[in-house]
Amino acid sequence: MTQQETPVRKVPVACTLNGQQTEFLAAPYQSLLEALREVVGLTGTKEGCNDGNCGACTVSLDGRIVDSCLVLAAEVDGKSVDTIEGMAPPHGLHPLQQAFLEEAALQCGICTPGFLVAARALLEREPHPDEHRIRLWLAGNLCRCTGYDKIVRAVQSAADKTT
């Protein structure tokens, strides 16, 4: 950018973000992750690797979970994006959030938003996944603190409680 005579023109993006119509300007090179964090100001979506390997930046894009570091912000124009900030009802918690607290499924907590968004997508598709299915679904989300045991239990517990 600095080597160019004229600055890069930003791209207008209009999307539904956590259920609200939202407009912002993003640089054409900016990832959805960077735009969420730096432009929109939603820092609940975390950067762990910026190359699609850790899942800390998982968001839901038109109902499909994606690594927001691998999506350009400009691509979400006209689409629907759901982040961790939109997960809880007003003055409450999503059953998965409650289960993560009760099952002690977080230690440092940096991977937690990504796990919650990914796990919600699983339970929306399959309300009663078995342990293997949960582990397979969450294999794209790295956690270095818990050894996954309590995360898997939390997802099982939330699934049991939503029946």
Binding site: E38, G48, G109
Partner: protein
């Protein structure tokens, strides 16, 4: 699952329960502020230019074009950084010479590891800063990289630091790449080996492995015109960052304020300085707050993993399997600067056993890779891979059951640890017995239905844990809730485990104690969150502060009841007048009367917990399945038993056991720095480094053993680290059981398993 090996004499109301952690709601909502989440008015963004060479003279660095680029506010090189003299500081888990720290954060004339910062810029946004790095001209003269023990220690070795003076058994040696050679001796091991019925000696190689925290380092600094420096950073050691930044930048200690942000994992890797001094210098030049966040590749290239190295261990036993002597030769690669936890390795390698005759040589060796850092029980998993693998093979050789061997030789209260200290009351035997009595241990290892090979492995491990200095301030609110200010960044639930210990004293629910982790201007000195010390040592400061609060309120009650404070007793959260038993007020009622009886009550507990953390032992049992066609190892079942003394919050204790086991399994099976001959890491992404995923692991059964620690009022032991010690040998022993031959090297990945199987077919063994 919790077993009480020795029923504690104390009954607890809060300690031992499982409340929801105080910071939990913020963390599941995505509201918690980690390092990179910080926003400040006028904030600009820094980026670092890193050396592409592992070893090179930097002949010229020209930042003028970068500095002149639109949107760039400042650029710095090694010439902008003050030169730091030799100053050795003890960071509890690491002993660091700040001369090396200052060179490590920014190269001065020579790059000594791939990723060594050479220059840095600050610009209006991240992209502009990254683009500006391309305008920096650097002239390197590449030198031969030294990246193995062999190359570093040979007589005509390329010397990495001309000014490194090695300490070789007390003798000053220069030039050398061996920063330290220590020897610990007791008794006469050679004579004992000569008398032994069986002696076995093997050499093991352990790969360097990264802590792998998911949050990359992020540091923000603002250097105010009045020369006050504020640093917001993801660190385990805010007070350590304060003093080390002050030393490196030649500022008065108290002119530096460090604000610990929420921390996304550390495991020992977020103790030392990385970008804090660079952000500070860029802020000074630009007049703006500067944020610097590492990318993942830089985290792998340029921060400190645990050291790799080579360990030769030898054990001699009598005809009954009793240990007569043990020796070890431990050689760790510290990375580009000295300091690779060889003393902890020396303490830990045979700590689980009674060893009457012992000698341990240990070498701290510099090589051209990033300086290693503490990694969960620093130095101990590597050494224990050697000792526990050796013991398993020895048991095989002499036809002895490993469980029987462990129980026969187990260190217990009064046993002298090989490096000197005598164990207080410990749970070593209790952990082994917990495994022996587990359903897992008595279960049959069923045959694989599809021809895969299954095996079971056992290993023990030890970590001493630290004490050191902590301050906690507790203030009573009118409604009987108390606020608690502490100084240890909360990596895994320590706000809650400290609050619970204070709540126990007050007889209040855990949620009536509101914990806050404060900056370095807002709380008394605290050593870092490391060494398994926070719940154990800062917990004692919380108890001390709570007890002072109770004593003060007793005085106030005495005023109200017109009696002597000695007549006021406090039990079950109620103050009573012993002389007039109808005079009683609950803690909450009393809290409302403090304003009128002398003013607010606020007390600080300070401790300097000396000596041992009490020691936490563990025993792990694992079942594996090896695919002989691919070499892939699957963990089928895992049980981890460990002594917590008294588990303050059992869920988070179990979580530490499970998380450490998972890291250890990763170290055993996959994780390594795969490095080119010129010192460039080839697998510096999470995809290629390949830490365990949810799909790679089974549930991990955690057995919480409780043998009370005599050094803590509630019997608590620090438990965070031991769990990474046994997994690699436990997995290795299980693989050996499965395939009938041994691996002497981590990671025990598919290619090495296939090689071991091929060697076995050809009648060769791996040692």
């Amino acid at each position: 699952m919790t077993t009480t090996a020795d029923r504690p004499s104390q009954e607890f109301k809060v300690v031992g329960s499982r409340p929801i952690r105080h910071d939990g709601v913020d963390k599941v909502l995505g509201r918690a502020q980690y390092g990179a989440d910080l926003k400040l008015p006028g904030l600009i963004h820094g980026a670092v230019l890193r050396s592409p060479y592992a070893h090179a003279v930097i002949k010229k660095v020209d930042v003028s074009r970068a500095e002149a680029a639109p949107g760039v506010f400042a650029a710095i090189t090694g010439d902008d950084m003050p030169v730091t003299g030799s100053k050795v500081v003890d960071m509890v888990e690491e002993v660091t010479n700040l001369k090396w720290s200052s060179q490590r954060v920014m190269a001065h004339g020579k790059a000594v590891y791939r990723g060594h910062p050479v220059a840095a810029v600050a610009a209006v946004d991240q992209n502009t800063a990254l683009e500006a790095l391309k305008l920096i001209e650097v002239e390197y003269e590449p030198l031969q990289a030294v990246i193995s023990l062999e190359d570093a220690m040979k007589p005509d070795a390329v010397i990495i630091h001309d000014d490194l003076v090695g300490d070789h058994l007390g003798e000053k040696v220069s030039p050398t790449n061996v920063a330290e050679h220590t020897r610990t001796e007791f008794g006469d091991p050679e004579a004992a080996f000569a008398e032994a019925a069986h002696v076995l000696e093997r050499t093991y190689t352990i790969a360097r492995a990264h802590q792998g925290y998911i949050e990359p380092h992020s540091s923000t600094a603002f250097w105010s015109p009045d020369d006050k420096l504020s640093v917001w950073t993801t660190t385990q050691a805010p007070f350590g960052v304060r003093s080390n930044v002050a030393t490196v930048l030649k500022l008065p200690l108290s002119d530096v304020r460090v604000v610990p942000m929420e921390i996304g994992g550390g495991f020992g890797g977020k103790i030392g300085l990385y970008m804090e001094p660079l952000a500070a210098m860029l802020s000074r030049k630009s007049g703006r707050p500067v944020k610097m966040t590492m990318d993942r590749k830089s985290v792998f290239d340029a921060t400190g993993p645990g050291p790799g190295g080579q360990v030769t261990a030898k054990i001699g036993v009598d005809k009954d399997g009793k240990i007569l002597a043990a020796t070890a030769d431990i050689r760790y690669m510290a990375g580009a600067y000295p300091g690779s936890s060889i003393s902890a390795a020396t303490a830990g390698i045979f700590a689980c056993y009674k060893v009457p005759n012992v000698r341990i040589d240990a070498y701290d060796v510099v090589i051209n890779m990033s300086k290693t850092a503490a990694y969960r029980a620093p130095g101990t998993p590597q050494a224990t891979f050697a000792s526990e693998s050796l013991i398993s093979e020895l048991c095989e050789t002499i036809g002895m059951d490993p469980m029987e061997f462990h129980l026969l030789n187990a260190a217990e209260e009064g046993t002298r640890r090989p490096d000197g200290p005598v164990f207080p009351r410990i749970g070593n035997v209790a952990c082994m017995e917990a495994i022996r009595d587990s359903e897992h241990f008595s279960s049959d290892l069923e045959k694989s239905p599809d021809g895969k090979l299954r095996g079971r492995g056992l290993a023990t491990g030890y970590w001493n844990g630290g004490g050191n200095r902590s301050s906690v301030t507790i203030s009573v609110n009118d409604d009987g809730v108390v606020s608690m200010v502490e100084g240890n960044p909360d990596i895994g639930g320590t706000r809650t485990t400290l609050a619970m210990q204070a709540a126990e004293v007050f007889g209040l629910p855990a949620h009536d104690v509101h914990p806050t982790v404060a900056d370095t201007d807002s709380v008394g000195y605290n050593d870092l969150t490391a060494g398994s010390r926070t719940t154990y040592a800062s917990g004692q400061a919380a108890i001390e502060a709570a007890r002072q609060v109770v004593e003060e309120i007793k005085k106030r009650m005495a005023m109200i009841w017109e009696t002597e404070p000695e007549n006021v007793e406090f039990e079950d959260s109620v103050f009573r007048n012993k002389v007039a038993p109808d005079q009683r007020l609950t803690f909450k009622e009393a809290a409302g009367k403090l304003g009128q009886t002398g003013g607010p009550v606020s007390k600080t507990g300070t401790v300097n917990v000396r000596g041992s953390g009490g020691g936490s032992f563990a025993a792990h049992l694992v079942d594996v399945e090896v695919d002989p066609e691919t070499g892939k190892v699957q963990i089928l079942r895992y049980t981890a038993a460990q002594d917590a003394g008294k588990a303050v919050h059992p869920s988070y204790v179990e979580g530490q056991f499970q998380g450490g086991a998972a890291q250890g399994i990763g170290w055993a099976l996959n994780e390594e720095y795969y490095t080119s001959p010129d010192g460039v890491m080839q697998n510096s992404s999470f995809l290629d480094y390949r830490m365990p995923t949810a799909l790679d692991l089974p549930m991990i059964d955690a057995i919480v053993v409780e043998v009370p620690n005599t050094n803590h009022p509630f019997g608590v032991r620090g438990i965070g680290e031991t769990s990474i010690v046994p997994p690699a040998p436990a997995v290795g022993n299980a693989i050996a059981d499965a395939i009938g031959t041994r691996l002497y090297q981590t990671p025990m990945n598919p290619s090495r398993i296939m090689e071991a199987l091929a060697n076995k077919r050809n009648g060769k063994n791996g040692h």
